[in-house]
């Protein structure tokens, strides 16, 4: 058992191992942004109409000079320079958690104001909005339209030119019907066909209400 008495190398090895762990723990960068909502709670945000601003609401908020609303432009700085909502703050998506942006949001929160995020499209504002909500900002709303709708001189002309895809299903039932009706449906395809096509008629008759 004399080998049990030789402990020098063992001690050195163990101390080295512990040192690596200690160095690791010291250099460990704690993320300074933390989630305050669980994934399930974040999912709950998505259907809450009180957390978004529709284009109509946005236009009234813009005209209301009470200083209760701050518009946050999440587009890149080039687009922001070209044109932006009056008095808007530019915080591009990538800089959302930068120290500067954080202090800006903190100030807005302190002043009791409400931040409205807008982007080129709602899609662009969606990510930053969800991130801010998930990390504990309770005064952040999302603008549900595209930037062009806020820009008065652009709004009318541009809007009609751009194809718009919204969350409302825009399936042209007539086109689909004409395709499938003229096709010689073989039994193989029929299964998919029926499933895909038949209920469409129903929504068509109900006037595409949803």
């Amino acid at each position: 058992m004399e080998e049990l008495n030789k402990t020098n190398r063992l001690t050195i090895l163990v101390v080295a191992f512990v040192l690596v762990i200690i160095v690791g723990l010291i250099t460990l960068r704690r993320p300074d942004v933390k989630y305050t909502l669980s994934p399930a709670e974040s999912l709950g945000l998505l259907n809450d109409a009180a957390l978004v601003v529709t284009p109509d609401q946005a236009l009234t908020l813009m005209n209301d000079s009470g200083g209760k609303t701050v518009f946050i432009d999440v587009r890149n700085s080039v687009a922001f320079e070209r044109s932006h909502v009056k008095n808007a703050i530019n915080i591009p998506v990538r800089e959302l958690f930068a120290p500067k942006s954080k202090s800006a949001f903190r100030e807005i929160e302190k002043a009791g104001q409400i931040a409205v995020l807008y982007g080129e499209t709602q899609q662009q504002a969606n990510g930053p909005w969800l991130m801010l909500r998930q990390t504990g900002y309770k005064n952040v709303l999302m603008f549900t339209g595209r930037y062009a709708q806020l820009e008065r001189n652009l709004a009318d002309s541009l809007l009609k030119l751009l194809p718009q895809f919204s969350e409302t299903p825009q399936i042209d039932t007539a086109a689909l019907k004409s395709i499938s009706a003229s096709a010689g449906i073989s039994p193989d395809v029929a299964k998919t066909e029926k499933k895909a096509v038949a209920p469409v008629k129903k929504t068509g008759s109900s006037g595409g209400g949803c």
Binding site: K6, T7, R9, L10, L13, F17
Partner: protein, 175 residues
Amino acid sequence: MAKNKRDGTFYINPYLGGVLLGLVLFGTYYITGRGLGASGAVKSTVVTAVHAVAPSHADENKYYSKFLSDDVSPMSNWLVFEVLGILAGGFLSGTIYGRLKLKVEHSPKITSKRRLIAALAGGLLFGIGSQFARGCTSGAALSGMAVLSASGIITMMAIFGSAYLFSWIFKKLWI
């Protein structure tokens, strides 16, 4: 220390050996995402050998065919290389500490022949058991304990529990 270092009786502190082994095991997990193993190499070799001698038999047998795929030869399994490494590492250590010697180690109370038969029987049982448990002491028990897997710890307890029991039954073989 320097004097008796090469006469074959010097062993490193078992805790040092343990920490070294632990670091190797940890390194294995860190690099490959899997643990160490030894019986897997035996299995690969057996599968390859059987496949080489009787390919149709190997394909028919459900167990062999589990480990035979068309594109990769089971021999290229990295456990085989690991075992080659074990042999090299053991040889290196044996050279350093002067333990390289062809011999049969056995208790003075038994003959070499008896020891060899017991070793063969023990290996046979170990071979069967390791297939049941999907790994041996290193592959299932040691690697499993490092990641706190249930199979590793249960297998470890089963191995050592039954080894304690049977070692007293076969006491004559050892002391």
